[in-house]
Every structure is written in C-alpha cells, then in structure tokens.
Symmetry: C2
Subunit: 131 residues, 2 copies
C-alpha cells in the first residue's frame, strides 16, 4: 500500500503522513523503488492519529496513547493509571462537546428570524462545564 492509498484510508494528507514518519510515529517499510509501503498496522496507527489529533490530543499525548497498546515493559498498573487518566480527559471533552452541541442546537432551533438570538443562548456561550 503506497502513501496515496494510505492517505485515503486514514484521511490524512500525504504531507502529514511523511511528517509523522519524520517524528517517528510510524515506520513504514520501503519498496525496492524507494516508495513507502504501509501495512495494516501502519494504517491503524494513522487512522488512530487522525482521530486523536482531530479531538485535540497533542502529538505527545498521541504517542502516549499509542504506547498504551504496545509497551510491554511498563508495569501494568502504570498502563492502567495512564488509561484511566486519559479516560477522565475524554470524559471532560465529551461533556464539553455535549454542551457545545446543546448551545448550537438551541441556536439553530430558536434563532429563525432576522432578530438577534435569545439572550439565554448567548449567556450559555461560555458553557457550564465547570459547575
């Protein structure tokens, strides 16, 4: 599988894929002609990276998340704690997304005229995730 197909499969631009190789997030094989060739595992990693990056996880966090699946040396309690930490973070993101969605949904539902949106929506702008 060449980089173009990997790009389609992962929804990542080829530039980004090469960049991820440069910073050692993936290490695809090379064909005899010098072309990169991606195996199923590479594609999985790329798809994972595409999702996690799109959800606001940094490259280092992605590296950590990937390591959760692959690091055999780390004590299992560490792995577990890391996973639990990340789950907490994900829960926070989930509730933030929910509140953002609620705000937008209210906006789409209520603001049907040429007049300004109802005040409660604007008041909700900063979200209610912290209380």
């Amino acid at each position: 599988m060449n980089i173009g197909q990997a790009s389609k499969a992962s929804q990542l631009p080829t530039k980004t894929i090469r960049y991820y190789e440069e910073i050692k997030l993936i290490s695809p094989m090379r064909a005899e002609n010098g072309y990169r060739t991606y195996c199923e595992t590479d594609i999985h990693r790329l798809r994972f990276l595409q999702r996690a990056r799109g959800l606001g996880f940094s490259i280092d966090e992605c590296r950590l998340l990937l390591s959760l699946y692959e690091d055999e040396k780390r004590a299992s309690s560490d792995v577990k704690q890391l996973a639990l930490d990340k789950i907490g973070e994900i829960d926070r993101k989930l509730s933030e997304l929910e509140s953002l969605k609620a705000t937008l949904t209210a906006l789409a539902r209520d603001c049907h005229g040429d007049d300004k949106p109802a005040c409660p929506i604007i008041d909700d702008l900063a979200g209610r995730t912290n209380h």
Copy 2:
C-alpha cells in the same frame, strides 16, 4: 478584570490571551495605566475559545462559531445551516471520543497482567467510526 484574572477565569495562559487579541478574537478595553481590562463578555469568549480549541476546532472555525452568536447581518438560514454543519461535526467528534473511550476502558479493564493486551483491543485501535 486584568489579564491575570482573565487567565484564571478562562484557563488560558496570558500569552495566549494576548495572542487572541493580536489576531482579533477579542478586543478588551484598556485602563488608564495601559492594562487590558476584560469584561464578562470577553471572559465568555475566552472560555469558549479554550473549550473549542481543546476540542480540535481551528481558530478559523472558532471565529465562525463565535460569529454564529453575534452576526446580525447574515441571513438566518445561513446561520442555521452553519450551526447544523457544526452540529454534524460535533456528532462525529462525539462518536470518535466514545469509541476512543471504549477502547481505553477495555484496555484498563482487561490488561491487568504483564502479558500483552488482548488482541481484540489492538484490533480496535483504529476505531469503528466509519462502518
């Protein structure tokens, strides 16, 4: 309210807040001594930006989202469509987060030993959002 307090209230570093001013996402007033002063609306915007950026929306997308609440000139059907588009995007992010969480939860639950994680978890690495 000075930048330090705004920083605490919004969970954004002061550097980032000044940067957001530079790119015209906010325009706080200035006190006589030259200090920036932030009103409630500014804080709302900052908190909103902090959340939206953390969820993977770009600065331009944030600008768009903010404009949804404030642009009186745009035809309401446009606003509605934009809001609906963004809601679709948020739904996608929500399901991606859910699948990521499920994967990590399975990892934390099942992988309690020194052995490698169970294969189904690794197989799930790239998520199931597209099928």
